[in-house]
Amino acid sequence: MINRETGTFKRTYAEDLAIFRTPLPKIAIGVIALVVFVIVPWLGGSYWLGGLNLIGIASLGALGLNILVGYTGQISVGHAAFMSVGAYTAAVILREFPGTHWLFAMLGGGCAAALVGMFFGIPSLRIKGLYLAVSTLAAQLIIEWVINHWSWLSGGAQGSIYIQPPTFPWIENGELVVRKMDANLHYYYLIYTVLAVGIVFALNLFRSHLGRAFIAVRDRDIAAEIIGINIFRTKLVAFGIASFYAGITGVLYTYFYSIANFESFTLLVSIQFLAMCIIGGLGSILGSILGAIFITMLPIVLDFILRGVGGAVFGWDDAAASAIMPQWNLIMFGGLIMFFLVVEPDGLAKMWRNFTDYFRVWPFPYV
């Protein structure tokens, strides 16, 4: 029943087009869905769910950036700025039209981010690679400047807009009521539902004409143009989709923190998302998620190591450990980016693939 592929023995077109060729992936998806949506929320305490929420949001953002950088080969250093466009659009919609449903505000944020992203993607028609990196860097700095200086838009000198938490229908004592999301558990379901939609969309995207066109543009743009792909349109759509993901990510941050704040969307955050893609694996959906987990966990693990090992070996107390924490965080962050680029350019996703490939054919050395 749980068989593995042993070769290609397809007899019908339907078999050839099947998404799941063996039953195993179906079972795996069922198990993952069960774990993510039933077991984890059931067992996890509020603290852990809070951490998982941050990982979920980061995964969505990393996934969007990976569509642009990993699959289409267009570098963007302005991902966090596009997130802030989404975040502030949703917050402004909710501020100006208080009755709006949060779902519409979220979609509005995503669409606004997509439009701004496509605008800053226009230079990609003429320039590539490093020039594009510089141009998206300018996008980041200009958008940051606008948020900081246009207080009528972004709510005062702190550039923060407080919002009401999203609501959801709930059955209480046999009648339908509207409840506010106020626990990590509520946000957990919101974030992971959105993430699941994002992952399924991305998986299907790369089975479609458009997704294949992205990959063709990345691998050899001139060849792609010769086989009839409209390069400019493809790049713009890639910018649009990636920025839409970014916008939704920004909105999720806003909902989760109940505030849209520019400090969640600085250049450093853009770089963190790039690092997630690099460390997780460029051009891999699994990699985006692994990278998001890795980068989100890094400060927590580092804190644990500094306190634990520093305390045991050097006799540091908590204050001494936290004093050098930001520096070690920077060093490990930068060091790991360089390490992965030099040693394992395909990132954690490749490491995972090597691992599963080993067990796929075990106990034989190869097939």
């Binding site: 570098i75 320039i127 400047w145 930068g334």
Partner: protein
């Protein structure tokens, strides 16, 4: 008179932008690496020289020499440990590596030298010079002179010296240079070492003007408008564009700030950069080899 002063000060600050941009252009010319860590190089140099002078009480000349040695070693180390392995890899990888390097240098500098802001003391009077009614900052003048000397030295190096000619050959075509017996890896190392030294000049004067801490690294972001405007591979472009950007910033602060209420100084260079990227992507003096698809 106010505007003449504004322009002169803009030009003086611009000369400091040029010297930071010079280190950037040097690396790009030799190895086609876009260095997002140039600001961190400047910051690191500032930290090192401030450490020699403030903590160990060295004379400025001795301190500068020691800092020079350190920066050469840092440049060589970076090239040897990281960039050498990324030759021939996609642009994304190289850019990301320098971004990682930037973060690494920030963390290391703070861990080694401490987090508090310090000022590089220079034996220059901070009493301004008056030329008629014009008021000029003495330190900025000296900095401009040093920036000019730096450009003259690098210019001479690239035009006359054997090593400079080899670097230009590598920039033109790596494979042919290899065939002509140039050791490309060694020269990449040399380019990074020179960039480290150039960053020292920036580190000394910026470290004096605005203090040494991680904020100093933000100067690295100001370099992008300069190099894009001047052309990524043009030394003369770095000089001219640095002066232009300094001037534009200064004039924006003088003219636009009263109109829109402050902060345009930080914005105008990037708006200018976007315009340049859209209409003249190779800049004023850059080589026009941008591939368009």
């Amino acid at each position: 008179m106010y505007y003449v002063e504004l322009m002169l000060n803009g030009l003086l600050v611009g000369s400091l932008y040029s010297i930071v941009a010079l280190g950037f252009v040097l690396i790009y010319k030799a190895s086609e690496v876009i260095n997002f860590a140039q600001g961190e190089f400047v910051m690191f140099a500032g930290y090192v020289i401030a450490f020699w002078i403030l903590s160990l009480d060295f004379n400025i000349v001795v301190a500068a020499f020691l800092a020079l040695v350190v920066m050469v070693l840092v440049g060589l180390l970076v090239e040897w440990a990281v960039l050498r392995h990324l030759i021939g890899r996609p642009v994304v990888a190289v850019i990301m590596a320098t971004i990682g390097l930037a973060s690494f240098l920030q963390g290391t500098a703070q861990l080694l030298f401490g987090v508090e802001t310090r000022t590089v003391p220079l034996p220059i009077d901070d009493y301004p010079i008056f030329i008629g009614d014009l008021l000029l900052n003495r330190i900025e003048l000296v900095a401009a002179v040093f920036a000019g000397l730096g450009f003259a030295a690098v210019g001479w190096f690239f035009v006359k010296s054997r090593y400079g000619i080899a670097l230009r050959a590598i920039a033109d075509d790596q494979q042919v240079s290899l065939a002509m017996g140039i050791n490309v890896k060694t020269f990449f190392g040399i380019a990074w070492a020179i960039a480290g030294v150039v960053a020292l000049v920036g580190g000394v004067f910026w470290g004096n003007a605005s203090g040494v801490d991680t904020q100093l690294a933000l100067i690295g972001l100001k370099v992008f408008p300069v190099v894009i405007l001047g052309g990524l591979d043009s030394i003369i472009g770095a000089l001219v564009a640095g002066l232009i950007i300094g001037l534009v910033e200064s004039l924006a602060a003088g003219f636009l700030d009263p109109l829109v209420g402050g902060g345009t100084k930080d914005l105008t260079p990037y708006v200018l950069m976007i315009l340049v990227l859209m209409f003249k992507p190779y800049g004023l003096f850059g080589e026009k080899i941008i591939e368009r698809v």
